[in-house]
Amino acid sequence: MSTQITEEIPEAATVPPPGAAPKAVHGHRRLLTRRDRLTLGLMAGLPTILHIALVWVTALASIALAFTTWDGIGFDSIQWVGLQNFKELFEQNPQFWPAVQHNVIWFAVLIVIPTPLGLFLAVQLDKKIRFSRVYQTAFFLPVVMSMAVIGFVWQLIYNPDTGLINSVIGANEPGKYIDWIGDPDLNLWAILIAASWRHAGYMMILYLAGLKGVDPSLREASALDGASEWQTFKNVIFPTLRPTNTVVLVVTIIEALRAFDLVYVFNGGAEGTELLSILVTSNIIGESSRIGYGSAIAVVLLLISLVVIVPYLVATFRKERRA
């Protein structure tokens, strides 16, 4: 279990850019032979090139392509169309605004339901109750599974004809029919339950790691002062979890913006469950693809991510530097 914990956390934290090789101190520089320098150069250079090619060039290329139409056949067929793609997207695409809305709902639900639940579970497990390892494993299990697999599992539960829920409550008959997957008023919430089921475990493990870092003497002191359990949590423990909360918020925003696999497996982003990531995919992948249009949607997704993430990170880092 413990290895999974340590593996999961770096994904959440901001990853340092690859290629940042340790700098040699001036006085020791002479000790490096030509070969050492070559090795170091390769170790730093190759990842840098890969990073630039696979991250920056692609991002910039897709921004450029957002102002073109291109079917992916021959580079001569790329045509500049200016803001046409965006205009079409905002004014004509019936799936675009629902998709933006669903991404927002996705974030709100994740932050309101599974995140406090994860915190609650973590606090309970931190008390070293009996079988706490068993509970920990049980709650963490969904996090280990891929979202696509979770999608398949929950489909078995939600399937309107043969699924668990409808079979148990008898809602698979004409007249009483509940269409969990197809009904646009229901399907988003059905999927969000599955997403929350996984997210709660994820949050639990983050908070559990945060709680391990709380100095035991703080608890002791508050116990000596006669604070109740709730008071201890509210006034002593929770404030010390501030760095963890930062990570949790960023992780949840990212989860909401990159939501894709679960929905893609569940119903392919049909009415009621449209998401930006799915619109990007359905426009770009395929035999006669609309690469320009799909890129325009991707740019919108990128802008939303930046608007949310950048100010928050700036504020957080400024605060931490001051502290």
Binding site: A53, A64, P174, D179, N267, A270, E287, S288
Partner: protein
């Protein structure tokens, strides 16, 4: 930004990095796999295949083995997962494709022909033309009137039912729209689901639209509509949706949450009376007795001017890539693939489809196959299916969600149709 770079470096740079970068890694890998180095070997023809499922894969392999035995020419097959093959067809054909590749008839073939990514094969058709009915000739031509495609097999769409159910309730096969609606009403009274329906994958509804539209408005209008020439706001299209609205209450409830396989089960378990789908629905009838009980009829006539003259029959076959390394042998191979002998071999291993040729040996056909074959052979015009008759990007990003919306809310059809038309214009205007 791209135009400022010098030409040769722009190409290599973008081919290498940009391709992977923009479209997701893996795409250039496919083109790299093509050709497989056997370029100059005059005794080898390379063939890119999307037949990755075990049954068709073996059936195709049998054809190539028979050809090698007959001609001494090796067919070097490069099989890709069929979905991957379809998604990457663009970059595959632009890279170093195999001499011959498997593909679909219809707009999907014409699109690549018009882009210059396929070689016209009029010479092949001079040899094989006599083997095919008129409708197949029409299907194999590009927009420029040249032949680009060799059909191998085909399967029709129709309304499926169980003989025993029709017998039990004394139903008769409806041939006109009024009979069809009356039958639906009667089935509902008899506590059956009149029309099984599952549109979770979003494509089955396209088939229902096709049937009603070409019965009501005829083949020519249907083709124009699919090609982006006719308007979706045309009163004729509105009429199609009105007719659909009329029978929508008889369709199985909750269809957007149900797969076609699950819908087929309601027909198999005799809870539903009818089911409109391709003959592949038979795959869901695993019990031999149930399969023998399965039958179908052509979608009923709506406008007597058109009767039942159009049959939706998706056709799969072969094309030749833009600059084959061994063109002489590729032509010979295609000539062989256009014979009944080659199709016989295929059908022996995969009996879910029927011959595309007219002089086929139908002796070993099942009853369903015989009926399907006659239906196709007797058709005046063949359509392929909406996503093969029209631009796939239009059908997948606009039509699939639009029809799902219609099924849930048939009253909103007017705003839906104008939204389809607006989106269609921008998609068909590009490239």
């Amino acid at each position: 930004m791209l135009d400022n770079l010098p030409s040769p470096s722009r190409r290599t740079l973008l081919r290498g990095i940009g391709g992977a970068a923009v479209l997701g890694a893996g795409i250039p890998l496919l083109s790299a796999c093509g050709g497989s180095g056997a370029a100059a070997d005059p005794k080898t023809v390379t063939l890119g295949s999307k037949a990755s499922d075990p049954v068709p894969k073996k059936a195709f392999a049998d054809i190539y083995a028979a050809y090698q035995k007959k001609s001494g020419i090796t067919v070097d097959v490069n099989t890709k997962d069929s979905n991957t093959f379809q998604e990457q067809i663009n970059s595959y054909l632009q890279g170093t494709p195999d001499d011959v590749f498997t593909w679909f008839a219809g707009y999907r073939m014409q699109f690549f022909a018009a882009k210059g990514l396929a070689t016209p094969i009029d010479d092949v058709w001079q040899t094989i033309g006599g083997n095919f009915p008129e409708a197949m000739h029409k299907l194999s031509k590009g927009e420029d009137g040249k032949y680009y495609f060799v059909p191998l097999y085909s399967y029709p769409w129709a309304v499926f039912y169980r003989k025993s159910v029709f017998q039990q309730y004394g139903y008769e096969v409806p041939t006109t729209w009024d009979d069809f609606v009356a039958l639906c009403k009667q089935m509902q009274k008899d506590k059956l689901v009149p029309i099984a329906f599952g549109d979770k994958d979003a494509w089955p509804a396209l088939g229902t639209f096709d049937q009603i539209n070409f019965r009501q408005n005829g083949y020519d209008f249907h083709v124009d509509l699919m090609a982006g020439k006719a308007a979706w706001t045309d009163a004729k299209v509105r009429k199609t949706f009105d007719l659909w609205t009329e029978i929508l209450p008889y369709h199985q409830e909750g269809s957007t949450g149900r797969t076609w396989q699950d819908a087929a089960q309601t027909l198999a378990s005799k809870k539903a009376g009818m089911y409109m789908l391709g003959t592949f629905v038979a795959q869901q009838f695993t019990n031999k007795a149930d399969l023998d009980d399965l039958d179908f009829f052509a979608f009923p006539e709506i406008d007597p001017a058109f009767g039942q003259d159009t049959v939706e029959a998706p056709t799969d076959g072969f094309m030749m890539s833009k600059s084959p390394k061994n063109k002489a042998q590729a032509v010979k191979l295609l000539e062989y693939l256009g014979t009944s002998a080659a199709e016989d071999i295929y059908l022996k291993s995969d009996p879910s489809v029927v011959h595309a040729t007219t002089d086929a040996d139908t002796a070993s056909y099942t009853t369903l196959q015989k009926k399907a074959y006659e239906m196709i052979a007797g058709a005046k015009s063949l359509t392929q299916f909406m996503d093969r008759d029209s631009r796939p990007d239009f059908t997948s990003t606009v039509m699939q969600p639009a029809l799902q919306k219609f099924i849930r809310d048939p009253k909103g059809v007017d705003s839906l149709l104008s939204s389809i038309e607006r989106q269609k214009k921008t998609i068909f205007a590009s490239s």
